[in-house]
Symmetry: C2
Subunit: 406 residues, 2 copies
């Protein structure tokens, strides 16, 4: 009689037929003897419409009125699912953030959950009543509604799983799991049965947008087993678990790519202490995230070339910031290139296997792909290459690391 939390995203509750399909999943879990808590998003498109209205009405996402308006979408879907389940003879009720309550730090538009009151939920679950909780929302000390920001419903589901000590948190979405690579690029990509939190985090932050980073971090912190699965097909998905829960560890679990990269090179930057801070400080002040950074060894000890990447959308702003500081920074040229892609090999197995990076470089060399920038972490190697080589690079690496489906 385990507690299971099921979370359904916007496409899974897009209309009443879809909500009925969600009810099928809930009903199956109840029939299997599980105690079920459900977290729902708003109908697909609804939150965007509400955000557009608020923005047209002159308010930003940091306002209490924004949150009051955009939190209504989940109120609709939770109520409707409760109606459908009850019409089928199941016990069910919906909960809004302020009703439980789901307490937060009160920051409008991107609040963090501080505590979920679970007394009533546990009593309901014990009584066999399906507990349906509105995702994405909570309450501030002031009594105002807050929302949790992007991916907020996933956060609600994971936090609720932790609070209820759930056996598993099933994240139903429009894909049927986590793949070794993007199936649109790699036809032979295969679904992973299991993946570690760390790998999932790298995947998420590198553009495989199945789960938001914040919710994976939260699941890892509270040791909540996640399952990513499709609400449209009836099959197991991908389990996201602790490294210890992986029976057998493959060396590499996935190849990802991100096209949202732009490269900036500053040539002949004076090679003196504090120059990096002088360059990246103003970028940080302008809220521009810098990702990969490479500084070449200075040949003559006087000047060096510095290369870094930013999101494509930040390129123009980054250049403006740097041009404004040109005299102070003293570089010779600023070279920009928006036509780059970041290719990454991810796997916790790297920690115990030598030669993972070497194989990557070898594959790139064999295919004649020039590596522009390299960066590595404990479980990931990323290279920046010309965007035209994206598919070639990803497919070649996918084969080289034996990830291809048979």
């Amino acid at each position: 009689m385990a507690i299971i939390v099921q979370k359904f995203g916007g496409t899974s509750v897009a209309d009443l037929d879809r909500i009925r399909a969600v009810a099928d999943k809930v009903q199956a879990a109840v029939a299997a003897g599980d105690k079920v808590a459900v977290v729902l998003s708003a109908m697909a498109g609804v939150t965007n419409q509400l955000v557009a209205w608020v923005s047209e009405a002159g308010a930003g996402p940091d306002s209490s009125e924004y949150d009051s308006v955009v939190s209504t979408g989940e109120q609709v879907t939770t109520g409707l699912l409760a109606c459908v389940l009850k019409s089928r003879g199941l016990k069910a009720r919906s909960w809004l953030g302020w009703q439980l309550p789901i307490r937060t730090d009160g920051v409008h538009g991107r609040a963090r959950i501080t505590e979920i009151e679970t007394g009533a939920l546990k009593a309901g679950l014990k009584d066999g009543e399906v507990q349906i909780v509105a995702g994405f929302q909570g309450i501030a000390k002031s009594g105002r509604i807050v929302t949790l920001g992007r991916g907020g419903s996933d956060i609600t589901a994971v936090a609720l799983s932790a609070a209820l000590d759930a056996a598993r948190c099933d994240i139903y979405t429009d894909v049927d799991g986590v793949y070794t690579s993007d199936p649109r690029v790699v036809a032979k990509a295969r679904k992973l049965d299991k993946i570690t939190y760390e790998e999932m985090l790298e995947m998420a932050s590198l553009g495989a947008k199945v789960l938001q980073t914040r919710s994976v971090e939260l699941a890892m912190k509270h040791d909540v087993p996640l399952q990513v699965l499709s609400s449209f097909v009836d099959a197991p998905g991908t389990l996201v678990v602790n490294e210890e829960d992986m029976l057998e560890q493959e060396m590499v679990s996935g190849i990802t790519y991100s096209r949202d990269e732009a490269k900036v090179t500053l040539t002949r930057v004076p090679d003196r202490p504090g120059v990096a801070a002088a360059i990246f400080g103003p970028l940080s002040d302008a809220e521009i995230n810098v990702d990969m950074i490479v500084q070449n060894v200075s040949e003559d000890g006087k000047a060096t070339d510095l290369t870094f990447t930013v999101a494509k959308g930040d390129l123009a702003a980054a250049i403006k910031v740097l041009e404004n500081k040109r005299d102070e920074l003293g570089f010779a040229h600023l070279v920009q290139d928006p036509n780059v892609v970041k290719i990454s090999v991810i796997g916790v197995g790297m920690r115990s296997h030598a030669g993972v990076a070497q194989k990557m470089f070898q594959v790139m060399a064999e295919k004649g792909i020039n590596i522009q920038v390299i960066s590595t972490s404990e479980i990931k190697i990323s290279v920046l290459v010309a965007e035209d080589y994206t598919e070639l690079a990803v497919r070649s690496l996918h084969s080289a690391y034996n990830l291809d489906q048979e």
Copy 2:
């Protein structure tokens, strides 16, 4: 520095442009030095859509989930108006039913307000902050959201006016006031400057659907001066006040008609005690409202003819109920006629003027209109006539009582 409550209906907040027009009205009142509380409905059509979804999902209006879903429309409009006002530099905030709270008896789908907590509202008003309250909703002791039923936002506005001891409650709608008759029928109908609560109640219950009966009753009970006015034109509307506040009382203030009537006649009903109860009891059990009732004096002391009216939509059900009881009731024939209209002359002045009814009968006779049923109250005379005569009857009476616009 009077407190004014302004209520705007669904067509007045149908989109952002309309909400901006509402903000203009609020801003004008604030500029005039008033302390303004605003009550809003949902965008026109939104509540109907939500009700349709809930009903399709298998729940009726008596359920907690119905209320949770259908109360979201007002949450959207109140938040948006607050955004618009704040973007113009005014102080404003929105309030949901559970936030104030607006306490109710907890009956889902048609709750009655028992108390409105006004401490925070009054503090905000004193501080010059516009207080925007979601109409149509409140909270049950259980902590669940409830809605107030049809015309619920008017109820919220009137109850709030009473609780705040407001100088006036302005009901903005899509008509510019209360008319002496339906302008679609009587081209010479004119807008009334003032009308009493009692007259308004008769008008409302007789089909002049400007204000719901419940909200007028509530205003009368708490002596809240109402004003019905248009949100689309900038002109005074109609004030609804106590009889004592009418400087000059016209004999008749309006002519109304209701086509939603059907006539049933039972012939040769045995004339014995208890027969009326035997007929109307089963109709009442079937939740069929009977309106006008006429029982002719029995000629032979043995049997009488009984005529009554029901709403057109209830006619078939009423006949079924009566046919099932035919043996018990012992009537000879059941004659039905759905092609009737009820024409009413309304005016508190009737109390002190003789001859009002006589003039009505005279006009009908002059125009050759046969009166089928008559019923009277202290401030109203109604007659049932063939539906074809509707326009002729209403226009003739409107002229006869000197209501025509010059």
